[in-house]
Amino acid sequence: MITVTGLNKTFASKVGGVPVLRDVSFEVRDNEFVSILGPSGCGKTTLLRILAGLVDHDGGSIQVEGKEVSGPGPDRAVVFQHFSLLPWMSVLDNIGFGLRLRGVPKAMWSKQALQLAQLVGLQGFENFFPRQLSGGMQQRVGLARALAVEPAILLMDEPFAALDEQTRLLMQEELLRITQEAHKTIVFVTHSMEEALLLSDRVLLLTGHPGVVQEYLEVPFDRPRDRSITTSLEFQRLREHLWEQLRRTQTRDAVDSSDVVA
């Protein structure tokens, strides 16, 4: 269970503080899949990085299982937008990286890494270097590396944004499959409405500068899911609804900034 209450974040800059997040409150239930959806600059990635303990927050509180977050912890693992694989390590060594840092003996971590390579569909590529893999395969390694440390919470920062369209669709289906098997609480940052609706139990809509919570939307589709839900009327309706919300705030922002210019 993640509980975020009245979270504020301001980045320091030469011309003064730049507010990024204002009074953000929400909670994520155990084993729930929550997407943080919003346009660029709404602070969604910053929010995820704060959850990961990689960035400090200025006000409010973030609790995981009732404990205040003050840095990275073994209960959370991050999947990064640009994969962040160690180029000098093989696929297997990259997957086992987190376990190795924890002092797990090699026999154990390499066995676990092998199993995870299998889970994410990388069998046969265990000894490849990252540069020998496609983007989609590299992100499979990133996902396996995060799963390897068996975190209760998986934090995914636009994990498929750097991939081409076809690969992205495939990876979404893979993620649906994998999360079906491994019960995880997942916070997933995206700017894609379809992606958020397809994958999530709830969508946290973040808008504006600084980002505020616009809506916390329930996605009522049963699991296991597949892509066929995207053609349903309900999906279209939810997508339309999200777009309305986004358009309204986007237009308002555009008017705001043109006022500033004028």
Binding site: L54, P72, G73, R76, V78, L86, W88, M89, F97, L101
Partner: protein
Amino acid sequence: MGIARVNARRSALGRMGHPSGKSRVTSTPGPLVEIGSLLGGLLAWELLGRVLGLSWLPPFSACVGALIDLINQGLILAQLADSVQALAIGFAAALLASFVIAFLMAEFELVDLAIGPYIYAFFLLPSIALVPVFLAVFGIGDLTRLAVIFVYCFFYMALNFHTAFLERDSALMEMAESFQASRWQRTRYVVVPMALPLVLATIRVGLSRAVKGMINGEQFIAIYGLGGLIETFGGEFAAVKVFAVILVVVALALVLDVLMRLLDARWTRWAAA
């Protein structure tokens, strides 16, 4: 980061043991041209030596003959061993010291501010200018030779290692942090591997500078090693013997360089294009 590989790809020697050696690069006439050029140069040396008959330019064959004679007289191998031993000690000390100091400079800004300027100043100073100082301090002896070898490569390597250790990929550092890597683990698993290609390229160049230091130091002392031989034969105006010793020095430097390139190719396989 790419220095080692760019250099490696430039010559046929560099392609030995390099993973890209099997690619189409080898199918170009590159190695043939290089070997051809080398043979042509030796041939020109031989012909010029014979035709001109200058005392300071003996033909290549005469130099090789002299080298064989010197080896048979037992003059070369003993001095070569002596030189290599000094090179190994002096270079190892410089390598260790520069690695540690560069690492501390990269980790602690205070160290960088305190000793960085000295390292840089001595790097700019031609090392040979220090030889008289060493002679005064250590006298004509082994310590002077070791000190010369040390300064010829230490400052250069310390500066380059420092650059290498500062090359931190912030995304990878953050990734390691997200997995709760300790400071030591981030160094061990991110900073040092990241620095490795430049470190190896630096060691390669540092080694060649150490060879220069060895010869220059020995020439000053004029008793020891291959440099001592060059100085002795030079004093006798025996150009043919001087060239014979130079051939040995060149061979030594080449062998060390090739060994370093093999090591480089092996350890930075992950980065090969």
